[in-house]
Amino acid sequence: MSVTLETFTDIAAAAAALAAPGAAYLGGGSLLVRRANEGDVALTHYVRLADPALRAIEVCPGRVRIGAGVTMGEILRHPGLDFLGTAARLIGGPAIRNAATVGGNLYARAPYGDFAVALLALDAVVHLGGRSGERDVPVEDFLAKRGTAFAKAIVTAVSFAVPANGTFRFIKASRVRPKGLSVVTIAAVLDTRGGLISFARIALGCLADRPMRARAAETALIGRAQTPEGIAPALALALEGTTPITDAVASGWYRGAVLPVHLGRLLLADA
């Protein structure tokens, strides 16, 4: 049975269509059309919003807003988003990057969702639209409720404060290069003052059912030197609160075992 597509220019109309059972919002389709190809009978129609605002990237001094329909390929080519290049480049191969949208990545289950890990480290805001008007949700809350309260939401954009130069870091450990699924993905904003770590926000992918913050490790980094000894207490706490996933890429045990190694590399990358 084929799945039909409905295209709207008005977000309220799209939201109304999306509320129907069997409807799903179509981003780039790299996961959703795959579901249809695999014969998922629960999916009966795609809903799409053809609004140029969804494709817009606004880089203002201090803040960036990226439309939900912007693809990883577009992020990679945007001169104002260099710091996000490493994250976007590591998502799929070139063809996937030309389909994979920011909005779809926020819903992608592990081992996918690498860009959502970056957005969590950036403490992004997720902008939702729909029948009840605009709504802004912190990305961490959004990720917690993406399968429940926000399962049928329409993400219109994400926005975040531009991190200070050189403070954003991203690593994706995979078994296949250059294109491989994530064993663990880590994004961080790390700042130092007077040789000591003054700010740390760390997000982990594949360490739970959704990207999660490593809060215990963040706290343990403050006031410490950016040296193997300085970060050791944080690495010891990296697994706190995690429930690493097991899949075809790696076991949960393995993910947990390698997390401190990759986190250490990320934190010391330029030290």
């Binding site: 039909t4 179509l26 790299s30 795959r34 390929g73 799929g92 191969g93 063809a95």
Partner: protein, 160 residues
């Protein structure tokens, strides 16, 4: 089942079709337009055999809905030869034994064309990155990488 009208340019010629809503570009190309150069390997986005260019960008036809390509320019490996003359990539693939069973070849050539159109003098790493979404079960990839580099060299010699 609802039918929708779609129009696009396929390898330089205008096409107009009525298709069932939600049909993938791969099904339209193969079943309606008899262009069999994009192959349906996995239908999951993992093999790249269905790669085509949509407005110059590489896309997976198996995961792209035909309706989202309304008004677009589509290029496939099947349209590369002009007046019986093979494209430099096709010549390099044949000369370099970069094709064995041929199942991946259309997608590999499209992925390579996407690279050379943007970067006429790619490095080995650029080629590996460009074909990283395409799986080949036969060649072990080395002949393909070699063929893409050879096609780039041939292009630059022809222009010199």
């Amino acid at each position: 089942m609802a039918k929708v009208a779609i129009r696009f340019l396929l390898n330089g010629s205008e096409k107009a079709e009525f298709v069932e809503s939600g049909t993938t570009l791969l099904d339209v190309l193969r079943e309606k337009l008899a262009d069999f150069s994009p192959k349906g390997g996995c239908l999951q986005g993992t093999c790249g055999a269905c790669s085509v260019l949509v407005d110059g960008e590489i896309r997976l036809a198996c995961l792209t809905l035909a309706e989202t390509c309304e008004g677009c320019t589509i290029e496939t490996a099947g349209g590369l030869a002009k007046d019986g003359v093979l494209h430099p990539l096709q010549i390099a693939f044949a000369d370099g034994f970069a094709t064995q069973c041929g199942f991946c070849t259309g997608g590999m050539i499209v992925a390579s064309k996407a690279l050379l159109d943007r970067n006429p003098a790619p490095s080995r790493e650029d080629v590996i990155e460009a074909i990283s979404g395409n799986v080949c079960r036969c060649t072990g990839y080395e002949p393909i990488i070699g063929a893409v580099l050879a096609a780039a060299r041939a292009n630059s010699t022809n222009k010199a």
